[in-house]
């Protein structure tokens, strides 16, 4: 506690130890220097924490982090595949977030998209050629994902409901719907899972390209990234999204139908989530469970936000987060630690990455000795 200055005999008042001031615009490289510094600090702390609670050498930790992604025991294509899926969902939430529509229902939209694909695989099987089945699955996933996103959007546009709560609730409905259908479709009976669908015929499985099963999936997402970048930056609709997001009043003032833009953008957002569901079910898992989306609908928000909604930067942040997750998993499993340990490490790193934004916008001024003497 500071003493009351009026009773203090000394003339010099006590200057506070630190006070915060806002910075001007930082040069871009200094901002990146701060971010890089934060990442290094986070790594050091991760190493320290690991060494403190386990008996590993610090270097082992970093090696394991790297090996989790590019080591001899792992399939690096899987790392890029997972990154592609995360990036796909991040691209999906971006237009909504740019519009300041807090769509936290990507998880449910992905699940519903996946469910649509799974249903097509189960009911159509090899009744049609595989390419046709894949197209049907794609169309169904896009439509169902879009529908799942359009419901909260329409309610928001018409009755100003809260989109955050609404989209969150839609997630639970999606999860429960899949839990129900899992029992309905379970195979063999009593197993409680659907199992791999069409294992023999591989109907509805995405084809391999260049001898790898995941290349097609990665190419699709890469194309989508470029398309989204162009859409947001150069199209009229992208411009409308920015205007609605920045100021609804301005949008109304220049004659944009705000409700229409909200619904249109959410349909797009949901459809891309549906695409992610299609990729997951048709291209990777060939089954559906309640954990198919695996929380990536929420991680995607972070990816999108860290990249400041720029799709090109998003490929970097998506890579960073996938890299961290894989590496942390390797540390946890490789050294036979509890799986939650990897969450602790990722948590530390994200805390630093997000926290360093404070130092980009604000400066701490410490009390200087020189002033004390005056």
């Amino acid at each position: 506690m500071r003493k009351d200055t009026s009773v203090q005999p000394v003339k010099k008042a006590h200057e506070p130890f630190v006070h915060i001031t806002k910075r001007g615009e930082l040069v871009w490289w200094r901002a990146w220097l701060i971010r890089a510094g934060a990442l290094i600090l986070a790594m050091l702390l991760c190493g320290l924490v690991t060494v403190m609670i386990t008996d590993l050498r610090p270097m082992d930790v970093y090696v394991a982090l790297f090996n989790g992604n590019f080591g001899p025991e792992v399939d690096t294509w899987v790392v890029f595949r997972d990154m592609a899926i995360l990036l796909c969902i991040s691209l999906a939430v971006t237009p909504a977030f740019k519009m300041r529509f807090w769509n936290i229902g990507a998880e449910g939209q992905v699940l519903m998209g996946g469910l649509a694909s799974a249903a097509c695989m189960i009911y159509i099987k090899d009744a049609v050629p595989n390419w046709l089945l894949l197209l049907i699955m794609l169309a169904a996933s896009l439509a169902v994902g879009a529908l799942w996103a359009a419901i909260p959007a329409i309610c928001k546009a018409k009755w100003e409901t809260n989109e955050t709560l609404f989209t969150l609730m839609m997630n639970y409905i999606a999860t429960q719907l899949i839990a129900f259908l899992t029992i309905f479709w379970e195979r063999p009976k009593g197993s409680g899972t659907i199992g791999v669908i069409n294992q023999m015929s591989e109907a509805g499985w995405m084809p391999s390209l260049f001898g790898n099963r995941y290349v097609l999936c990665i190419i699709i997402v890469a194309a989508l990234t470029v398309a989204m970048f162009i859409y947001l930056r150069y199209s009229k609709q992208g411009y409308e999204i920015s205007v609605v997001g920045e100021s609804e009043n301005t949008a109304r003032y220049i004659g944009i139908n705000v409700g229409r833009v909200i619904v249109r953008t959410m349909i797009l957002s949901g459809a891309i989530c549906g695409l992610a569901g299609f990729l997951l079910v048709g291209g990777i898992d060939h089954t559906i469970t309640t954990t198919t989306a695996g929380g990536q609908g929420f991680t995607a928000i972070m990816v999108s936000w860290l990249a400041k909604f720029n799709p090109i930067f998003m490929s970097l942040t998506a890579f960073l987060i996938t890299f961290l997750q894989k590496g942390a998993q390797q540390i946890a499993t490789g050294f036979r630690l509890d799986p939650s340990f990897s969450d602790i490490l990722t948590g530390i790193i994200l805390f630093f990455i997000i926290g360093c934004e404070f130092f980009i916008h604000y400066k701490l001024n410490f009390r200087t000795a020189q002033k004390e003497e005056k």
Partner: protein, 514 residues
């Protein structure tokens, strides 16, 4: 140190990022005086006062209260040193009574003894001549009464130094006089009063001394009795400025916009516009005067197609085709498709007229981006327009790619008005176009409005400074509580006459209540 001074500032500096809000300010406030702090908008008056009141903490410099150096880190610290600030935007709880608001947050023993508090409030009111009902709820109060509550709140906490931030902005001329007599009584009681303002005639009538700030620096403190408007303006702006508006005789006057029986009911069911009838003519500036929030915004927005109108019509006479169309229940887009060239400079520039985070080019595009069949936007033409406006209106900006929120108030307004005029309108509506602008920018804007008038545009100008309204407008519409209380001729009307009309409707209402 002398005990004459209630406050002394020594070398006070405050920066916000790269913006220096105050630089090395040295200033004194004496005991028992009214000090006016004068300066153009954005010169750092409010920031400086906020540092004394504990809202901001200075980056450098010292503050002395009664000769003792103090550190003021919060409004609570400020109160402990007897400093109270009345902010421009009131901070009151609507559903509480005046007394409840006044004692809110005080930590003393009998703070729950409302009866005793009420007595003290009454005491203070009687002492300084406030007109305050201690039990009246805030939501039942007029703006001037709310301000009274804020002042009493500060006095109740035992403040000896009062800071008032633009207290007259929301008051009519009559209410201002009342406030000033209260302030004089407080001064005679030994209190120090700092009043922030940019209205020259008020400074001259109320203050003992005037401290002039320019671009964050304290340029001079002069005795009010020994100065005049010209000298103060020169100090404020830094150079001599010629302040005159030329008003040409309207030419080729025809009825452009005919508003009949316009009535608007807001979401709360309150009639914000009540049976409005008027005509806006081409080649004329029609002024709209009234206390802030009397329905000016709703009136312009219902013409622009942004408000739901419950009754009445807005007829537009198209000068090209000679046709008359009704704009009621049309969206802004439909209005444009009808060939109505209506430009609107709204009151909230960055929240409605422009997008703060977008650069000048993208803001130019707001009106025109729909043109053409392509799904992609064309940034070429908006870029040319941006360059044109920057050079023609002398917008101070690093380049056309700078986000408009980083421009100063005057430059933001030039960008907005520039865009609206570039659409070659037949009707131009401008709501408080010079609010927050420095003197030079204000006169640029007035000149632009005059040019538009001479080009045959029907200009509708909502203003707050009555001195300007009577100098600039051909006709002035006075609005009070959503009703038109009078239409006067700009060349013959006086400020007092308009001030009387502004409050006329309210007095009638009060009579009706009684």
């Amino acid at each position: 140190m002398s005990n004459q001074n209630a406050i002394e500032l020594r070398g006070v500096t405050k920066r916000f990022g790269s913006v220096v809000a105050n630089h090395n300010v040295n200033m004194d406030v004496r005991k028992g005086e009214i000090l006016a702090v004068l300066g153009e908008n954005g010169c750092g008056k409010t920031t400086l006062m906020n540092m004394i009141a504990g809202i901001y903490y200075p980056d450098e410099g010292q503050i002395f209260i009664n000769g003792q150096e103090v550190i003021i880190r919060s409004p609570k610290d400020a109160f402990r040193h007897g400093i109270g600030m009345i902010h421009q935007h009131f901070k009151l709880v609507d559903v509480f009574s005046a007394t409840e608001n006044i004692v809110l947050g005080i930590k003393e023993e009998d703070r729950y003894n409302l009866k005793k508090s009420m007595e003290r409030v009454g005491e203070i009111s009687a002492r300084y001549g406030f007109d305050l009902h201690p039990e009246k709820k805030i939501y039942e109060m007029a703006v001037s009464e709310k301000q009274t509550v804020e002042i009493v709140k500060v006095l109740y906490r035992g403040a000896d130094i009062l800071i008032l931030d633009e207290p007259t902005a929301v008051l009519t001329p009559q209410e201002t006089q009342k406030l000033f007599s209260v302030l004089r009584r407080m001064r005679d009681d030994g209190k120090s009063i700092i009043i922030i303002t940019h209205k020259m005639h008020e400074v001259l009538s109320i203050s003992d001394r005037v401290a002039v700030l320019r671009k964050g620096e304290h340029v001079a403190t002069v005795n009010t009795a020994e100065t005049n408007e010209g000298q103060l303006t020169e100090l404020m702006v830094g150079k001599k400025v010629a302040l005159n508006l030329n008003r040409s005789q309207p030419k080729n006057v025809t009825d452009r916009l005919v508003v009949e029986h316009l009535t608007c009911i807001n979401r709360e069911g309150v009639k914000v516009l009540d049976d409005i009838n008027f005509v806006a003519r081409s080649g004329e500036i029609l002024g709209i005067a009234g206390i802030a929030g009397s329905g000016q915004r709703e009136l312009l927005e219902s013409i622009a197609g942004l408000q739901n109108v419950s009754e009445g019509d807005v007829f537009y006479n198209n000068p090209k085709t000679g046709e008359t169309v009704d704009l009621r229940d049309k969206t802004p887009l439909q209005i444009r498709d009808l060939g109505v060239r209506l430009s609107f400079v709204p009151e909230d520039r960055l929240g409605m007229g422009l997008v703060g985070n977008m650069d000048i080019i993208d803001n130019m595009m707001l009106r025109s981006y729909r043109r053409g069949k392509s799904v992609f936007v064309d940034r070429k033409k908006p870029k040319d327009l941006a360059q044109d406006i920057i050079s023609r209106l002398e917008v101070v900006t690093p380049d056309a790619n700078t986000p408009v929120r980083r421009l100063s108030g005057g430059n933001v307004q030039k960008v907005l008005i520039g865009r609206e005029i570039a659409a070659s309108p037949t009707v131009l509506m401008a709501a408080y176009p010079v609010r927050g602008l420095d003197i030079n920018s204000s006169y640029t804007i007035y000149d632009l409005l005059n040019q538009q008038k001479e080009n045959g545009v029907a200009v509708i100008f909502v203003g707050e400074d009555l001195d300007v309204l009577v100098e600039l407008c051909d006709r002035i519409l006075v609005i009070g509580s959503g009703r038109i209380t009078g239409v006067v001729d700009g060349r013959s009307a006086t400020k007092e006459e308009i001030g009387y009309l502004m409050t006329a409707s309210m007095e009638k209402e009060e009579e009706a209540h009684a």
